[in-house]
Amino acid sequence: MIADMTLSRLLAADVGYLVLPVVLPLLGAFLMQPLARVSARGARILGPLLLVLSAGITAQLWLQLGDAPFSLAIGGFAAPLGILFYADRIALLFALAIPVFALLFWPEFGPGAGGRDQAARRDALMLLLVAAATGLALSGDLFNIYVFYELAAVASFGLVALTGTGRSQVATFRYLMISAFGSVFALLGIAILYMQTGTLNLAQIAQLAPETLPNPIGLAAFALMLIGFGVKAELFPVNTWVPEVYAGAPARVSALLAGLVSKLAVLVVVRLLVLIFPQPEAAELMLVLGVLGILTGELAAWRAKDFPRMLAFSSIGQLGMVFVAFSISGEIGLLAGLAVMLHHLIVKSALFGLAVRWSGSLEALSGAAGVSPLASALFVLFALSLIGVPPLPGFWAKILVLIGLAEGGTPLDMMALMALLLATAIEASYLFRVAIRLYEDTPTPVPPPARRDLGVAALLGALLLAVTVGLKPVADRLGEDAAQLGERALYIQTALPSHVARKD
């Protein structure tokens, strides 16, 4: 009887299950190494299994509860006393995308190099990264976001160092130092914010922000946190780790860091901007740093001589564009930002997937089309979309940013607009250069991408083409997402229905 009740309760989706996509991967990570001592095979399938389970739970919650945002007070301690998870459409989209992408770019399904222990550690770190990323997407508490951000950082240090080469270890150390430097700034920002408002709950800070934060204090707190959370989002002054790390890490890990994890850091910054810092100076700061990122990134990518570093620098440029897009005020800014962000998520992940085997210099790639026509064709497709050639989705994303900037019309906006056009020209130049080289008529020693990476890239390419065909419904949904993301009042109302503790 009791067991029966428990079972039926377990099967019905309950808001409380929103913690599971975060907690289950953590549980798996903790148990990974002991399990590997008992059964290496069991440990190897545990990770992918938990990812499928997490994705399933998120999908079921989303299907049953619909598109309206909802919140969950963890431990039953009502916000703002406790910590809450906030799930709106964009948070759920990411909570779903994280396990899926982690599965697509899972480093190794086999034992891999380094033996049983190393394989178990690798899988445990992947699960920790997934848990942290999901937490970042869902959390509605400032310090909790910081904790998940640090978890994502530490887990990615371990994954980057996986190759075990000296240079990847130097790169990891530099990444760790820059990351920790940013964390100190983020902590200072959190301290200032807590002093000023007396709370860490994002919704409550948002409620208090109009009285307490539209002043230099608020701006300083935002700047500090922008630097702190900007490290993973490859924001301009704190992105010097990017090329070394992406060149030294296993390419599938680079795909996850550049594609997925950077977007979650961006999402955190956007939530801060929308909820807490609506003042124009904050957006202007982001715009300027974004423009600097675009210019430095694209120029460096143009000079790069090897494939992974070209992708890394181009990713800095693209994320600069994401920041520029989100700095545009109003719904069009959010829409443009989401479009650029999701487009880059798909394209850059796939390109890093191709780099698993194409890790060498660009020159070595000449004539690769002869060996692997599909991979070359996919590269051209992604390159065209990155540049923004119509009718591919990249074109529409870029056009949205340009329209938003033109509508803004301030001198800063115009400067950003010029930078964006210039960057497009540079982008076209270096991507075409590679494309032409791929189709050169020389026999080449470059191996074709592994079947798995090619399959993933083809899948993402197909997704890109599907969006091109069905642009209208996708654009409509994205518009609704952006509208929901921008509604401060809705967030506050959902997260803090009342201050009465929910104890039954």
């Binding site: 240090f157 920790a180 100190v184 902590l187 959190i190 301290a191 807590y194 090897d306």
Partner: protein
């Protein structure tokens, strides 16, 4: 504006530590000293957070000594700092592990020396020529070119795994 009170003194201490630490991280030429500077910067941030919960004349947030809850200091910042301290020591231990490996691979922890070696190493592993390093010391020592792809280790006493062994 600022008076000589306990809070002011601690505030100056906190910001001073944070800034000295941040400065040290930027200007240090030795990776180990960078690590020490990081610990100092973190201490500054932690001190500032505890300070946000302090109130003059408050008592520790522990029941049982007969103090009323209303006179206690804010427990939340204390919890945050507990968390931050533990995170800090974890990151520090990981950084030490990395340093040991870096030292084994390159035989130095000097930032300038490492940068030169790394540039050559990265380029060799990728199969391209190294960029001329902008901050190479005047009359810079010539870097021995990597013999071939796959054996680009520069370790002086290197038992380290060979670099660039990617398929």
């Amino acid at each position: 504006m600022m008076s000589f009170t306990f809070e002011t003194v601690v505030l100056i201490g906190a910001l001073g530590l944070a800034v000295i630490g941040a400065l040290g991280m930027v200007i240090s030429n030795h990776l180990f000293r960078m690590l020490l500077a990081l610990a100092i910067a973190e201490s500054g941030a932690n001190l500032l957070i505890v300070l946000t919960g302090f109130r003059a004349g408050g008592v520790a947030p522990i029941l049982g000594a007969g103090d009323p809850a209303a006179s206690m200091v804010d427990p939340i910042p204390q919890v945050l700092v507990l968390t931050a301290i533990v995170i800090g020591v974890g990151v520090q231990a990981l950084a030490v592990a990395l340093l040991i490996k870096v030292y084994q691979a390159y035989g130095t922890l000097d930032v300038r020396e490492l940068r030169d070696r790394m540039d050559a190493d990265v380029a060799a592993a990728a199969g391209v020529e190294a960029d001329a390093s902008q901050d190479a010391p005047a009359g810079g020592r010539p870097l021995s070119p990597a013999p071939s792809r796959g054996t680009a280790g520069f370790g002086r006493r290197s038992p380290a795994p060979a670099d660039g062994l990617r398929p």
